[in-house]
Amino acid sequence: MVTSSARIPVEKTYKIYIDGKFPRTESGRYFALKDGAGAVVANICRGSRKDFRNSVVAARKAFAGWSATSAYLRGQILYRIAEMLEGRQDQFVAELVLQGRSKRSAQKEVLASIDRLIYYAGWSDKYQQIFSAVNPVSSSHFNFSVLEATGIVAILAPDDDGLIGLVSNIAPAIVGGNTCVVLASETMPLCAVSFAEVLHASDVPGGVVNILTGFKDELTDQFASHMDVNAVVYADHASAGKIQTKAADNLKRVVARTDNKWTAESAQSPYLISDTQEVKTTWHPIGS
């Protein structure tokens, strides 16, 4: 007979996020995330190269629609992500604490992440006004240059800041109309999976953001070399040479974001948006 009235908590299965769905890794592999005392916190998907390729297919499929979405709507969707995250602060703080953070620093990181989303939401219909130009060419032409999303951005998220490192690199990529595939921090993957759930509840179309967990050593090559990826963003000095070399296969734009203190306001700027934009110039005759 059961005598205790204590309720047994239900634990979450941490899965990856591809094309707006939450599959397990196709490889069936996992790695155990442990707390400071060595106890298993969760079994995390050890994503594979095939998972990455599937994500790129999803990101490519989502690109046409997302890049054509109006700036106003993209801004409202980023704002919506912030609204969703605001209501789930406690969950993210708890996960950061589980992964070794002090409560205070976890709270700071979560609040900074929400504000960062608002910051980039605001840029959605403004960065174009900062970086575009009407060019006073000498001939009788109306000549203007505008920014356009480069395409699919592969992001190797920073290791140290499980949430804000992730948010700070996803937001400027997608606000500019790119879609992305992200490898979460290997040591702090919990918030990335939960953030995917926030994205899922925020009107972000499936495939715009795809988030994998797994081993950086195993997946970095694939992130840097895949022929249908247009830009690669990394935050880790150690793999810089390898990434730059592999990126040359299809002339990927390589964006290094090393040494950033992600919680600081200095880590946010519209230049992070322009990092993954192309400049397009149009000539049009003027005359009768």
Binding site: Y79, G122, D125, P270
Partner: protein, 489 residues
Amino acid sequence: MDNQNKLAFDGGWQYAPAPESTDHITIDGQYGLFIGGDFVAPESGKYFESINPATEEVLSSVASASSADVDSAVKAARKAYNGPWSKMKAAERGKYIYRIARILQERAREFATIESLDGGKPIRESRDIDIPLAAAHFFYYAGWADKLEYAFPGKRPVSLGVAGQIIPWNFPLLMAAWKIAPALACGNTVVLKPAETTPLTALKLAEVVRDAGLPDGVVNIITGAGETGAAIVNHDDVDKVAFTGSTGVGRIIQRALAGTNKKYTLELGGKAANVIFADAAIDQAVEGIVNGIFFNQGHVCCAGSRLIVQESVADEVVQKLKDRMETLIVGDPLDKNTDIGAINSASQLETIESYLRLGQEEGAEMHQSSRDIPTTGYWCRPTIFTGVSQSNRIVQEEIFGPVLAIQTFRTLDEGLSKANNTPYGLSGGVWTDKGSKIFKMTQKIRAGVIWANTFNKFDPTSPFGGYKESGVGREGGMHGLGAYLRLEG
């Protein structure tokens, strides 16, 4: 020329009425002045009525602010400026403005209904244009609050202080948004006066401001007529004046501000020309003309109130326009089928009618739609004048009603010189299938906004404002920020 393909809109069938319901809105019987975060009674105890121009029924009575009330509003705004608002982190200021945007989106249907009741505009326009654009304006400028330094490279943008803002009756809530959103984003506090015939949505906006939790006094909304506006303009502690209205009043304001160091933006009248070339897509152009002059009963400063059409297609365009005018439904602003609502006030109707008489006296030929119009309320049939000359007053002066003056031209230069030949320069329209001609025309038309193969398009990101006697300064977009900032360094 007879149009063989005319649709038989008068073919014995009618639209069933599709009226917007009013059971979801609340309008108080009386409104005080929104000063320092509360609705307060006016010092004089005087109130005036706001009526529904479609029925002439009283909607509410609103306070008449005296110069003493203006003084309390400016003091409340100053206190809020010196207190929390100018000290607040810019990003946090932005969050308050986002809240206003979100609440407006949530309450959009209520605002649209009240806007149509109070001002007479078709519900289709208030629902699809006025209210969504107002919310979008707040959303856009909210994002600028913590990004101002990017708009002014090499300078340090600093807020001005208290902005006094006076808005017209043609787009009541939208004009309030155009004024308040950039002012707040740039760190100023505001005293805003809506027009005396359309105060209700501004007063409802005061509720939104309160519900959004903005610090008391950051936004003050006071109602009254011209004297209230004059008291705002002339108040010593106002740092910036933003006015949208007639060129006549704009001139008075510019004189009144001379020597005071107050910054100002003036968004005034217009007499925009829609220039239609023979190579234009004619049916599309006719729709553009209709939208240009009959949108919002022609109560639009940037209305395309002149049509300048290339001679070889003039007869065709005028015939198609007349046919199209027969299909326009003039009637209940709350009916979703309505194309043209009520004229905003008895006095505006009188002005329009005086121009209709004047046009005929000047020798022009007047043509009006033959459709019925309601018997109570203020109404004007869509009207066009042909056979006008450049010096006619109906060509030179802003009528602010559904009245179009039509001229013809042969060469691009002739069309251009006619288009530019008024004291105004707010907007213009060009219709041609040839891109190079569009850019030639947009280069040469002396106006602040030019629409090519479209008309009356607005967006928070796009600057708006006039050349010549259509005003000073720009509102909207990145360029709209400068009006609310001082650049240091």
